[in-house]
């Protein structure tokens, strides 16, 4: 079994999947805030550190694109899931699902 992804890593990868062609730093951050962590703002430092780590692990690949006036002309880095990334995300989901299979959900609060 490959190294299991952390929850935050899975959320970042899922944001990249959901955004498809439009997955760059700002949009990933917004997707994380609007879809997954609705109660508070997400720390950009944590998101970018995770994106970097996932790219180093080969789960994401990135390309640079030209900037827009809204960002003062500064370049954008777009991310895409690699085949290795898809496999890791699938494995993380199936591992969690098999773990939950024998438990009734939601768990009883003792």
């Amino acid at each position: 079994m490959a190294e299991l992804l952390g929850t935050f890593e899975q959320l970042v990868l899922l944001a990249v999947v959901r955004l498809d062609e439009d997955a760059y730093g700002r949009s990933v951050l917004r997707e994380m805030e609007q879809t997954f962590v609705r109660t508070r703002s997400v720390a950009a430092g944590a998101v970018y550190a995770t994106l970097d780590r996932l790219e180093q692990k080969g789960l994401l690949k990135s390309r640079l694109a030209e900037g827009t006036p809204a960002r003062d002309g500064r370049k954008r880095r777009f991310y895409r899931l690699t085949a290795h990334g898809s496999a890791a995300l699938n494995e993380a989901k199936s591992t969690l699902e098999s773990g939950w299979r024998s438990c009734s959900w939601p768990l009883e609060v003792l």
């Binding site: 760059y24 730093g25 700002r26 951050l29 917004r30 703002s41 720390a43 950009a44 430092g45 944590a46 970018y48 550190a49 970097d52 640079l64 900037g67 827009t68 809204a70 960002r71 003062d72 002309g73 500064r74 370049k75 954008r76 880095r77």
Partner: protein
Amino acid sequence: MKTIAPPNTMQQLLLALLPANSRETISGDLHEAYVERHRQSGSFSADAWYVLQVLSFLPRGCIDAYAHNPLLALVCCFTAASGAWLGTMSILLRHQHLVQSESIAGTIAAQGLLTLAVLPLRRIRMLRWVALAGCLPVLYLAAGALYSTLHSTDTEGYILLISLALIVQSVLTWIAMFRTPKTTITA
């Protein structure tokens, strides 16, 4: 029309904390988000959000800086702790020249902490010069203490150790500050 832009100081801080390869893209992303937030919720909310986001890069900036200069970070921790220990002992032992010994201990601890604080932000030229200037009194203290210890009949081991650590810290600080990448940010 007034241009909407994040606070300049925080932009400089962000650029100082980011590695060269992601400086443009990340600062652009946050600029874009800032403008959007400014239009939706006003300048106070956008400024507060931007400050928090910039500060969220601080842990990573510190880890990177200390990983690049592990010996300097270690020596700074040692001298800062030594300064605190010397100061505490002077008070506990009711040292005769309390003000003088507290000043020496304070200078040693302050320079250790200052160097640790400046390391991740060393791309800001002014901070770099502050750290370098702080080396001078510390070197003066270390040289004086080393000289009197070596010329004394009863050698104080801890003074020798702290003096040597301060000299190593000063030399490593100068090397680290002058080795800083050329993309210097003026502040």
